[in-house]
Structures are given as structure tokens and as C-alpha cells.
Symmetry: C2
Subunit: 531 residues, 2 copies
């Protein structure tokens, strides 16, 4: 395929917004990672578009990160600080902006979205028809919602599909998708890491990744020449770490990178880091047998996604859709898998907060930059404005806190460089809060990462500081070194100054504010203080 | 009247929430001010209840301040940063909390509230019946809404009342309520300060303050023994500075205090202060003839309110309602009238941000403290939790940022002392922004006032610092004195730390968060990281 030759001059008519769940940037070969794992199809997408080397999520937790991706606002603004925290009804999602332009934002897969039913009911608010569906689904028009990670409700198309295909009629996901048959013929659940290496009972063609890809290809086919916006939201490589054959044993422990971790951070950790190390998943991944068992399966799950992304790209090319489709490929956060003696994500280490972000712009304006890596810091809040910009729609700057990445994709002047990426963590919901004996309002953490340093603010506790240039592994917390005081000061001040610049007014556009400036007499016939 | 003897043991069944508009704390004799102006009736309320000596509004602008009074949240949280900025539909008001308890929050007078019609329409949201009315009126059940300060729409009961009483059929408010007849018999508008001293054409009994008081007395009478919550929101002593006889010339320029102002702040002002000094109202009030003409009329308007508050208290006493009615008396902000070379309010000087706050609690638990002045810092966000607490309703701490003042009213332990009061100013809507050539997102100001210092943060500009103990007039900005650096540092850090403690989660109660802490396996059947 020779993408550039296929690029006409007109801009995007369609948008394919692909999100993976728990995919580390350095798992992909185009991000210089992967080791034995090669991801030629995602690499091919990167060769067609722009790859953002320093892309950060605003939270390394599914719910808050996805809400930032979908609203273009930071967790401190959209207030969905954890999984399944209902989104306040005044927040606008990508689908709400598209709806104002008469377009739908179709969903296939996971969102983790929960509406604020109590708040709506208390105010007697209701919405009917398409608006009502958008409200209940975070702005999306649901083709098929599938949040994964637990036995799906009866309404799930995937569940029906599995049952029709002859899998367990009662709990097809737990029994077959994350279930395996042990060497002794007994059932082995994917909930236990010790079983990660066993192949899922489900056939690869019936697995979550294959199923969602099939649905996406069907949808794109069905649209014909009608413009569309599709959010394809994969469940994997998120746990349960369970891959179907042949991906379950495609890689071995020898192929997997060892966790990045040091003795100092284990023996004298920051209090929050120390509390997180006591979580069950951290204690598990601290053991070599665990990461050795899990990392190869994770690699297999990533390889599987890459193969299906290849199928998707082939279909788009055959259908001529590479001519007029903006493609965004990203992840809601990474996966530590033993890095820094931690399992899961959440904590502000690179393995959790740095994600892949690839933007393919079909416009000829992007031809000159295809295949380039962009050093400019990007954040997940930039996706909404990037999509609106590519479709020629106004970016509502009085609400959206990110900015369009198209100028960087096209190598144009895109305004001043972003000084830093900002991250949020509200660990009130985690056992770490209990270990630290803190109240539910005392668990705010924030990250400020400029090109050089990563500063971590912890409510009521000392900050942390890492020098990403001298210590890319983030193994040395410099916060208590005397020379670091002015750096801490500067980063702390920058974080506060950033906070004061957050959007407060979100119900009047900048133009409306400008028009109302000093306009009381003209607009309201009010005279103030005239003698 | 001997209030204490009239106090039974049971708590409040009713609430009378009285707000004045633009009333300075030091205009009242119970606040040690007033000079020739005595306010015996408001003083009498203070003698029955608790008078908060250090009560601050969260903004010295009507709209944001009232929204903070009505939601119990700071402007940075409720996002209504200026007058007539629509309130996001997810914000809860006092009336919404009362509605959940099956009670109404009746409105008589001004709110300045504007619903977010565009946001509601974009999401197809609608509400019917009582819920719909609450949504459109900021949680209130409207007895009569009257925002004042401009010719009222045809729906206003006051307008109908004036026309029925024979005043101008076309523009009764402009012609008669703020209009006067000049010495030469010509019409003299109250919009011009030069006409302040002329009596309004309207008879005192038909004036705004008299009318709203009559309606309040009628309402209370009509309720009989039914419990009620009433927000009586006076328009005065807000401009237009125009009083009916005999209040128009009850005081002379000799009775009025001269503005508090110094040469240094005029010659070398902070950039924002300097820009505000260029506003028309500031240039006017900088002239002695202007404040000499206006201040006596302002005193008369305050005296008129005091007389009507007396009528109201007499009625409550006769009706036996002092037994079971919580009374809150406050103002949405003050009025500078020449202080610091400024007219209007907005700027963080004491004359604008410090307000009267008197709480009368009928409960016998308050008997021991009646008539006391409370030194504890109070803020306008404390009114919602105080009212809910007095009615025995839960205070939704996951949304409300203030705290109940009842412990201080009753002389009980009320938790740790509040470290400081916080104020917000978004001057994007003011001519000062144009003078300073700043964008609409570059005009945030914040105040942090502890018992001793007042620290002002100005986005993109140097801070200000005043020592309220050594310089109660706030005439010496200490921010540029070398010795003040550590104080600026400490206050700036405290402001940031305060910001990180703001409510982010507002759709789950603290109890819900606590119940969900480390509960994924129990509540969701999800196993994370187990070998």
C-alpha cells in the first residue's frame, strides 16, 4: 500500500476513532518497543500519519481518562474522577457537538460511561428520542456497547453472538472468553494470573477483538458513501489476561522485557507509592513468575489487535475510505505489570500515563509529514478538538480544554508549544486510601510533566520529582534532594497557575463574553455611575 | 420585645432568608458603622441572634455571589462568574435540596438567575411542572421575581401594582420609582448621580422596599401554621441611588463618612486597580461632590430597609413565628462609593467583599449566645448548609463547599476554625479588560483573606498584599516589599492547596465513595491481580 499516492486534496468526511484499553505505548514497535513483538499494521498506520511521541492521558484510570477523551476536558473539570462515577448532566461529549452539526457519533465497544440519573431525576429532567439516548450514553449513538471485564448483560450483542455460536449459554464470557481448560481437563478461570498462559476456550474468530473488528467492518460497509463517525473501542489488552490460540503462546518469558524497578523505591517509597505496592496486584506482579507468565500473553493480545487493525486498514483501503477518513488510534492508559513494584495502572509512571497516539489525516495538507514522529506534547483532551477540526466544525473553546493536533499532523504552525501534560488521580476508591488512613476528600494527586521533569503533587503529603532525561526509568525520586527545591517550586507554581487558567465559564462562548464586555448600557439600558 | 423569653426548645420549622443588595457591613450600627445612621431593627435582630463580624462573599458581583449563596459553592465550582451567566444544569440550589425533602423554597424579589437554555436544548433536556419551574428559576418557587435595576417586564407584579396605583402606565419604574421632578419641574432621572438627592416620585409605601416587605408579610400570614422557607431578596440599597421621601434627605453630606482612599494607590496602583479607577463610576466617585451627593441617599435607603425589617420582625413576633423561624440576614456584596478611588463593588476591598451576616436561631440551644458577635470567619457559601442544618436536613457535603454556622450561633464546637475566606473575580466582562488589553480567559482574580492578611492573586500580573491589622484601610499594598516575600509565598501556596481540595466528585456522596473503596470484588465480582 502506498498511502500518500492515495491521498486526494479534500479533507476528512469520516472519522474512525480507535481506542485500546490498557495498551502501553512501548508495546508497539513504531514506538521503539515490543522486543520480539512487531506490530506492522499499527506501524503502517503511523507511517501514513503522525505519531505523537509524548502523548499523555489525563488520568491512568479507564473512567476518568475516557471521559477526558470524550469531552476534551480534564478530570478536574468533567469531575468523573473514577470508574462509574456518574458524569454531571451539563458536560458535553463529542457526540453532543456532532449532534449540533446534525451528525451521529456511533459507538462500538467500551465507554465506561454512567449518566447522573439521580441528578437528572432530582431536577425532573428527562430527554426523549435521540437526545435521550445520547444523554444516557455519554453522547454516543450505540451500535453496540460492550464494556467488557465482566459477564455482559443480556442486551449485549456479543453475548448473543457467543450463545448462537454454541458457547456456554449461561456465562459464555466467564466460561469461554476468559476461561480455559487446564492440563488436567478442569476449568481454569482467566481471573487468576496463574492461568494466563492457557489458551482461551473461545476461537480467535469469536474473540472480543475479532468480534468488534467484524462489527466495525460491517458498519463501514453499510454506510456506503454516507459520512460517518465511529468510535471503535477495543476491550483488550486489558485484563483478564487471556488470549485465544494462537496468540496465547506466541511469545515466551524470554521475549518479554523485565519490569523497570529499583530497590530504593521498594525500600523507601513515597507514602502513596508504598501503599500502592501493598495492593494485591502489586504484590503479585512483584513476583517474577507472575510478570513472566503475564507479559507474554499481554504481547499476544497486542499482536492480535495489530492483526485486526490490519484487517480494518485493508478494508478501508479497498473501500476507498482512506481517501476521506480521519483515523485516531490511542489507548485510555497503559499497564505497569510489575514496573516500580506495581500492578495495574493509575500511578503516574510512564508505563501508565504515556500512551500511543497516532493521527492519520487524509488531507493532502498532511502529505509532507506522513510517517513523522511529533515531539510536541499531546494529551487525550486534544482528541475532541482534533476530530471537530478535521470535520471543519468549530471547536467550542469555552468548554474544550485541549487543542487540535492537526497543525502538528500537517507540520503547520500550531500555536505555542504546550508547556506540560497534566494528570489527575483520585485514589479515594482504592485500598491505598485505607492503608494511609485518609478521608475520601484527601486523596487527590496531580502530575505535571514537561519535557524534562515530572512533578507529582500529593494532597497532604510530600511531592515527588523525576528527571525524565537523566532517569528515564523514573527510579530516583529527587524531591527530597536540596538542589531540587527550586525545581519543585517552579513546577508547583506552574501547576497552580495552570489551575487558575481552567475553564470556569462554560455556558457562554468567548465571543459572547467579548460582546458583553462593557456593554451594560448598550445591551441593558443600564447607566452605571454617571454624574 | 424580649426574644429570649419567647424561645421554646424546638428547632426551626420556617426559614426567612433576607438578602439586601449592595449593603456594606459598616453601614449598620450593629457593625459599629453608620455614623449618624442608626439601624435599631437590624441591631435588634443581631441582639436576638449571632452577628458574624468577618463574613465574606465569594464574589463582590451580584450574579456569582448570589449563585454561591444559593448553591453553597464557590464561583470556581458553580461557574457562574458574572451577572446573567447561565448556571450549568447540573448545579443544585437550596430549592433543589429542599424539594428532595418535599419542601418549597419561595422567592420574593431578586435572584439574577439565568438557566442554561442552550445546554438544556442541545441535550434535548426538558422538565415539566414544579421541577421545570425550579430548573428555570434556580431552585426557587416564584411568589414574585423582581430583579430590579431596569424597567420590569410586563409579568412583574410590582409593575402591575404601580400602574394600578396610578403611576406611569408605560414606564412606572423609570418615571416614578427612580424618577424625580427637578426644581424647575422637569423630569430628573435616577440614572444620573447628580439627581440622587431629589425624592423619588413614588410614595414610600409604594416603593420597592415597602412593596416587597408587604408581600412577605402577606405570605407569612397566609401560611398560618404551615412550615415555609422564604427568600426575601431586597433590591436596595443598590443603585440607582434614589430614595422616596422622607428618606431622600434624612441625612446630609456632613453625616456621611468620607471615602477611604490614599494618594499612593491613585498614583501607583496595581494594574487591575488602575484600570478599575478608569471606569466611569470610579471617575465619578473620585469627585467629592459625587460621594457627598450619593452617600447620604444610600444611608437613607439603608434606614428605609431597617424600618421595614422592623415591621417584619413585629409581624413575626405577633404571629408567634419568632418561636420557630430561622432568620438569616445578609447582603450579596458591599458598595465602594469612592473608597480606593472606585465606584461600584467587584474589587476585593473590605467595602465590597465584607458583608453583614446575622443568623437568628429560635432553638433554645442558641439562648446562651444571643447578641454575641462571632469572630469566626464566615462565607456566603455557609448559608445553604446552615439552613439545611437548622431544618434537620442532611448537608450534601459532596457538593456543598460551605459549612453550617449553627455551632457558632449556639456556641458549640464547630470543627476547626476556618483558615481564610476565598473570593473570585472574573473581570472579562468589564472595561478594565479592554484597558489592560487582555483576553476573555485572562481576567481571573482571587482573594485569600485570613485573620491578618489579604492576598490577591491576579492572573498574569503581580499579586497584592494588605495587612488588615496594621492597615485596616487597605491603603498600603505590601506585595513589592522585600520582607513580604515569604508571606506572599505562604498565602499563594495556601490558595493552591485550597484549590486542590475543591469538590471534584459531585455525583457520588462521600458515603457512596467510602462504600466503593476497595469493593470491586464484592460489588462487581471483579478479581484484580490475583495469582
Amino acid at each position: 500500500m502506498n498511502a500518500p499516492n492515495a491521498i486526494p486534496t479534500h479533507a476528512a468526511r469520516n472519522v474512525l476513532f480507535i481506542m485500546c484499553d490498557q495498551l502501553r505505548a512501548d508495546a508497539l514497535s513504531c514506538y521503539g518497543g515490543g522486543g520480539a513483538l512487531r506490530t506492522p499494521n499499527i506501524d503502517r498506520l503511523a507511517a501514513m500519519g503522525a505519531r505523537f511521541e509524548r502523548a499523555y492521558v489525563s488520568s491512568a484510570v479507564c473512567g476518568p481518562s475516557r471521559t477526558s477523551y470524550y469531552t476534551g476536558r480534564y478530570p478536574g473539570s468533567h469531575r468523573v474522577t473514577w470508574n462509574r462515577v456518574p458524569m454531571p448532566a451539563d458536560e458535553w461529549s463529542l457526540g453532543d457537538y456532532l449532534a449540533e452539526a446534525g451528525r451521529d457519533c456511533w459507538l462500538l465497544g467500551k465507554t465506561h460511561f454512567v449518566p447522573d440519573r439521580r441528578g437528572l431525576a432530582a431536577r425532573g429532567l428527562s430527554a426523549d428520542g435521540a437526545a435521550g439516548e445520547r444523554l444516557m450514553e455519554g453522547g454516543f449513538k450505540v451500535l453496540e456497547r460492550y464494556d467488557g471485564h465482566f459477564e455482559m448483560d443480556a442486551g449485549s450483542g456479543y453475548r448473543r453472538y457467543l450463545i448462537e455460536r454454541g458457547y456456554d449459554r449461561d456465562r459464555p464470557w466467564e466460561r469461554d472468553v476468559i476461561g480455559s481448560t487446564g492440563p488436567d481437563g478442569s476449568f481454569a478461570t482467566g481471573w487468576l494470573l496463574r492461568n494466563a498462559g492457557l489458551p482461551a476456550r473461545v476461537a480467535e474468530r469469536d474473540s472480543e477483538t475479532a468480534y468488534l473488528t467484524d462489527r466495525a467492518i460491517d458498519f463501514i460497509q453499510d454506510q456506503g458513501e454516507q459520512p460517518w463517525v465511529l468510535h471503535l473501542s477495543y476491550i483488550k489488552p486489558h485484563w483478564p489476561y487471556k488470549a485465544p490460540a494462537p496468540y496465547h503462546d506466541m511469545y515466551s518469558a524470554q521475549d518479554a522485557a523485565a519490569p523497570v524497578r529499583g530497590q530504593a523505591e521498594r525500600e523507601r517509597p513515597h507514602p502513596v507509592h508504598g501503599a500502592y505496592q501493598r495492593h494485591e496486584e502489586s504484590l503479585s506482579f512483584a513476583r517474577d513468575e507472575v510478570w513472566r507468565a503475564v507479559r507474554p500473553v499481554y504481547m499476544g493480545l497486542v499482536k492480535q489487535i495489530d492483526d485486526h487493525v490490519g484487517r480494518l486498514l485493508d478494508h478501508l483501503e479497498r473501500a476507498g475510505r482512506l481517501r476521506d477518513t480521519l483515523i485516531v488510534f490511542c489507548s485510555d492508559h497503559g499497564d505497569l505489570q510489575g514496573d516500580h513494584w506495581l500492578g495495574e495502572k493509575e500511578y503516574f509512571f510512564e508505563g501508565a500515563v504515556r500512551v500511543p497516539l497516532i493521527v492519520y489525516d487524509p488531507s493532502s495538507a498532511a502529505d509532507a509529514r506522513r510517517g513523522r514522529a511529533v515531539a510536541e506534547t499531546a494529551e487525550c483532551v486534544d482528541v475532541v478538538p482534533t476530530i471537530l477540526d478535521a470535520l471543519g466544525l468549530d471547536v467550542p473553546a469555552h468548554r474544550v480544554e485541549g487543542r487540535s493536533l492537526l497543525p502538528w499532523v500537517r507540520g503547520q504552525a500550531g500555536g505555542p508549544p504546550r508547556e506540560f501534560a497534566v494528570g489527575f488521580l483520585d485514589y479515594a476508591y482504592r485500598e491505598a486510601r485505607l492503608f494511609l488512613d485518609r478521608g475520601v476528600t484527601e486523596c487527590n494527586g496531580m502530575m505535571l510533566a514537561d519535557g524534562r521533569y515530572k512533578f507529582l503533587y500529593w494532597q497532604g503529603l510530600r511531592p515527588q520529582l523525576f528527571d525524565l532525561r537523566e532517569d528515564p526509568g523514573e527510579l530516583r525520586d529527587l524531591a527530597e534532594e536540596a538542589w531540587a527545591a527550586p525545581v519543585l517550586r517552579r513546577m508547583g507554581d506552574a501547576l497552580c497557575d495552570w489551575a487558575w487558567r481552567r475553564q470556569r465559564r462554560c455556558t457562554e462562548t468567548f465571543e459572547q463574553v467579548a460582546a458583553r464586555t462593557h456593554a451594560h448600557e448598550r445591551m441593558m439600558n443600564i447607566v452605571i455611575g454617571r454624574w
